[in-house]
C-alpha cells in the first residue's frame, strides 16, 4: 500500500519539480567548483560564498526594495570573496584549501554577526521584508497539464542554472580563454611556457566560480523563500565540490551529479512513510562520490598502463629491425 503511494508520488510532476527545485542550488556551486578545478585550483570557499551571497541578497533587497540590485550585490560579494581567495592563494602563497576553509569560517561568522546586529535575531531574517526573484511562466508550455507543471513556473534562477551549464560548456571547450583555462589546469608549467599568464587565468576562474556560487546562495534565500537562515548553505558548497568529482569534471556530468544529489534528497523526504530510514537514502550520493572516485582512479590507471604498453610496442617495432 504505502510503497504504491510512494511510487505514485515519485512519478508525479510535483516530485520531479521538487527534484529540480532541490537541485538548482547544487548546480550553481557545482559549476563554480568545476570552473575552478579545471583551472587547477580547488575553490573550497564555495560554501562560505553561498552563505555570504544569500545574506547579502536578503539584506539589500529588504533595505532597497530592488531585487535585481540585490542579485547584483550578491554576485559582487561572491566575486569579492573569490578575489580574496585568489589574492591570498596566488599572491601571498596561502595554501588554497586552508584559505578556502578560513574564508568559509569568515563568511559563516560575519553573516550571523551582521544578521544579529541588523535584526537582533541570530537564527533567521524573518523580521526583514526581503524579496524573491520572479517566477517564469513559459507562455505555451504553462498550460499543458503534466509538462507545464514540470517545466514552467520555476524561479528565474532555476532556468539560469540549466542555461549556465550550456554556457560553461561553451566557455570551457569552445572559447580561446576556456582552452587556456583548461591548459593551466592540466599543466601549469607548459601553459606558462606558451605565454599564458597562469595567475591571471586562475584569478578569472576563481571569480567566475565565486559568482556562480553566489547565484547558488541566492537561490536559497531569494527564490522559493524570502529568508536568510544561519548557515543557510548547510553543506551545499561541499556537495558542489563532490558533484564535480562525481561528474568526472565535465559540465554535463556535473549537472547530472547535481541532479542525483537533488534526487536523493527529494527521495529521502518521500520515503518517510516507508520503513527505509531517510538517513540511508541521503547517504547514497556521498557514497556514490567515493565509488565514482574509485572507478575514475581505476580507469586512469588502466589508461596509463595501456599507454605504456603501446609505447613499449612502438618502441619494439621501431627498434627490432635494427637489432636483428
Amino acid at each position: 500500500m504505502s510503497l504504491e503511494t510512494v511510487l505514485h508520488s515519485i512519478f508525479s510532476a510535483f516530485f520531479i519539480a521538487s527534484v529540480i527545485r532541490i537541485s538548482t542550488p547544487i548546480i550553481f556551486p557545482a559549476l563554480g567548483g568545476l570552473v575552478a578545478i579545471q583551472a587547477g585550483v580547488s575553490n573550497m570557499a564555495l560554501e562560505g560564498i553561498m552563505n555570504a551571497a544569500a545574506f547579502t541578497g536578503v539584506i539589500i533587497s529588504a533595505y532597497t526594495g530592488n531585487v535585481w540590485l540585490a542579485v547584483l550585490c550578491g554576485v559582487l560579494v561572491g566575486i569579492l570573496i573569490a578575489s580574496l581567495l585568489a589574492l591570498f592563494h596566488l599572491r601571498f602563497g596561502t595554501d588554497v584549501i586552508l584559505a578556502g576553509l578560513a574564508l568559509n569560517l569568515f563568511c559563516s561568522g560575519i553573516t550571523v554577526f551582521l544578521l544579529y546586529v541588523l535584526t537582533g535575531d541570530k537564527g533567521n531574517s524573518a523580521t526583514l521584508a526581503s524579496l524573491t526573484v520572479p517566477n517564469v511562466k513559459i507562455p505555451w508550455i504553462h498550460n499543458i497539464p503534466f509538462i507545464g507543471e514540470l517545466l514552467s513556473g520555476h524561479p528565474v534562477f532555476t532556468y539560469l542554472a540549466f542555461f549556465l551549464v550550456l554556457v560553461i560548456y561553451v566557455f570551457l571547450y569552445r572559447t580561446r580563454f576556456g582552452t587556456h583555462l583548461r591548459a593551466v589546469g592540466e599543466n601549469p608549467e607548459a601553459a606558462k611556457s606558451l605565454g599564458i599568464d597562469v595567475n591571471f587565468v586562475r584569478l578569472i576562474a576563481l571569480i567566475i566560480s565565486g559568482s556562480l556560487a553566489a547565484l547558488g546562495g541566492m537561490t536559497l534565500s531569494m527564490a522559493y523563500l524570502p529568508l536568510f537562515q544561519k548557515e543557510m548553505a548547510s553543506g551545499r558548497g561541499w556537495i558542489g565540490i563532490a558533484a564535480v568529482h562525481l561528474g568526472a569534471r565535465k559540465p554535463l556530468g556535473v549537472l547530472l551529479a547535481a541532479i542525483l544529489f537533488g534526487l536523493a534528497d527529494a527521495l529521502a523526504n518521500q520515503v518517510g512513510s516507508l520503513k527505509i530510514p531517510s538517513q540511508l537514502v541521503q547517504m547514497i550520493p556521498y557514497v556514490a562520490v567515493v565509488i565514482a572516485l574509485v572507478v575514475y582512479a581505476i580507469q586512469q590507471r588502466r589508461a596509463i598502463l595501456e599507454r605504456v604498453k603501446k609505447y613499449q610496442q612502438t618502441m619494439k617495432e621501431q627498434y627490432s629491425p635494427r637489432t636483428q
Partner: protein
C-alpha cells in the same frame, strides 16, 4: 639571548603574536562600529573566561576537544595528507563510547575502558577506507574524507533517532549517562585535596582526560620526531619524491598517518560524550573537526605547540560566550577574528611581500633625499 631571539621558533612565535594582535584589533574595530558598549564587550572577551571558576572549567573542557582534534590534524598535515575527516571520526567516537557507556552491562571501570577503546578504534577504522583509496588508487583523500564525514553524520543520526533516543524525548538525545560510567574529576580523590576537589566538582566537570591529553601530546611528539616512522612521515610530507626514491614505504606511511590520526579524533569524540555532554545529542561536533585544522595550523603543525594554540583558541571561544551573554556583541565576532588570523598565518609570502614594499619605499625616499641634497645644497 641573541641566539633565542634569532631562532626560528622565536620568530614564529613572534609572528603568531603579531597576527593575533592584528586579528584582535580588526575585531575591535568591528566592535566599535556595531556595539554600544565596545569596551565592555572586549573586556568580556579577553578576561571573561578567567572571571569565574565555572568559566575556567568551560574553557578547559572546550580546549581539550580542540587540542585532541588539533593533534589528529597535525599528524596528517605533517605527512601533507589533506585528510579532513576528523569531524566524522569524532562523531562516531562519541556515538560508540556513548553506546558502550549506556548499554554494555559490565562494571564501571571496564565499561569506561571499553568506551575509550571503542571510540578510539572506530576513529582508527573510519580512516581506513580513504587511506587505502589514497594509497592504492590515488583517490583524493580530501574529497573522500569530506564525503565520509557526511556519511558518518548520517550514521550517527540514524542510530540516535532510531535506536538510542528514548520515545517521547523532548530533544534528540540519549538518556544521561549515569555518573559512575563517566570520567571523574581531574583532581584525584586524596584526603588532602578533598576541598579543592569538591570546589572544582561543584562548579566544573573537567575530568581526568586532562592527563590523557598531556600524554597524547607527548606521544604524538615522540611519534613524529623520535621514531623512524615519524621521520618517514615527515619526509614524505616535506619531499615526497625524495621519500619515494629513498626507499620509504609510502603506502604504509600514508595509511598509518591517517589511521593513527583517527585514534586521537576518536578520543576527542569520547571526551565529548563522557566528559562534556554526558549523553549523545544531535550536532555534538558542530564543526569542531574544522577548528582542529586551525589549531594545528596556528601551531605550525607542531604537536608540542598544539596544546598552547588549543588553549588559546578555546580561550577565545569561551571568551566569546561570555561576551555574548553579558554584552550586545554576538560570539560570531570570534569566528571572524579566527578567520583573519588563519588567513594571515598561512600566508607564507605575505611577510616578504610587505618587506619588499617597505624596502622599495625606503629606496625611493633615499633617492629623493639624495636628489634633494644635490638640487638644494644650501638646505641643511
Amino acid at each position: 639571548m641573541k641566539k633565542i631571539l634569532s631562532s626560528k621558533g622565536f620568530r614564529e612565535l613572534l609572528r603568531i603574536v603579531v597576527v593575533l594582535a592584528a586579528g584582535l584589533i580588526l575585531g575591535f574595530i568591528i566592535t566599535l562600529i556595531v556595539s554600544k558598549e565596545p569596551i565592555e564587550a572586549y573586556k568580556a572577551l579577553l578576561t571573561g573566561p578567567l572571571s569565574r571558576l565555572n568559566r575556567i572549567g568551560d574553557w578547559l573542557e572546550e580546549s581539550i576537544t580542540l587540542i585532541l582534534a588539533g593533534l589528529a590534524i597535525s599528524i596528517v598535515f605533517n605527512a601533507k595528507q589533506w585528510y579532513i575527516g576528523v569531524e566524522g571520526q569524532m562523531i562516531l567516537g562519541a556515538l560508540v563510547s556513548g553506546v558502550v557507556a549506556l548499554y554494555i552491562p559490565i562494571p564501571p571501570f571496564w565499561r569506561i575502558l571499553l568506551a575509550f577503546t571503542g571510540g578510539m578504534l572506530v576513529g582508527f577504522l573510519w580512516a581506513v577506507v580513504p587511506a587505502l583509496l589514497k594509497a592504492y588508487l590515488n583517490a583524493s583523500e580530501l574529497v573522500t574524507s569530506l564525503m565520509l564525514n557526511t556519511v558518518a553524520l548520517k550514521i550517527f543520526e540514524y542510530f540516535l533517532k532510531n535506536f538510542i533516543m528514548p520515545e517521547k524525548a523532548r530533544y534528540v538525545s540519549s538518556f544521561t549517562i549515569p555518573p559512575e560510567y563517566r570520567m571523574s574529576s581531574f583532581v584525584p580523590n586524596w584526603p588532602f585535596l578533598q576541598s579543592i576537589r569538591e570546589l572544582w566538582m561543584k562548579q566544573t566537570s573537567v575530568t581526568w582526560i586532562v592527563y590523557l591529553v598531556i600524554l597524547s601530546v607527548i606521544v604524538v611528539y615522540l611519534l613524529l620526531y623520535k621514531t623512524s616512522f615519524g621521520y618517514e612521515l615527515r619526509t614524505m610530507g616535506s619531499n615526497p619524491k625524495f621519500a619515494m626514491y629513498g626507499g620509504i614505504n609510502i603506502k604504509r606511511t600514508m595509511i598509518l598517518s591517517m589511521t593513527i590520526s583517527g585514534i586521537f579524533a576518536g578520543l576527542a569524540g569520547v571526551h565529548l560524550t563522557l566528559g562534556i555532554h554526558n549523553k549523545i545529542i544531535m550536532g555534538m561536533t558542530s564543526g569542531l573537526g574544522f577548528e582542529g585544522i586551525i589549531v594545528s595550523i596556528l601551531a605550525y603543525n607542531n604537536p608540542l605547540g598544539v596544546p598552547f594554540t588549543g588553549l588559546l583558541y578555546g580561550y577565545l571561544k569561551a571568551g566569546a560566550d561570555v561576551m555574548e551573554r553579558t554584552t550586545d556583541v554576538p560570539r560570531e565576532l570570534v569566528s571572524v577574528i579566527q578567520a583573519i588570523v588563519m588567513l594571515l598565518i598561512t600566508a607564507e609570502r605575505l611577510l616578504p611581500a610587505i618587506q619588499k614594499v617597505i624596502a622599495e619605499r625606503k629606496e625611493k625616499s633615499n633617492n629623493r633625499t639624495k636628489v634633494g641634497k644635490k638640487g638644494e645644497p644650501n638646505v641643511t
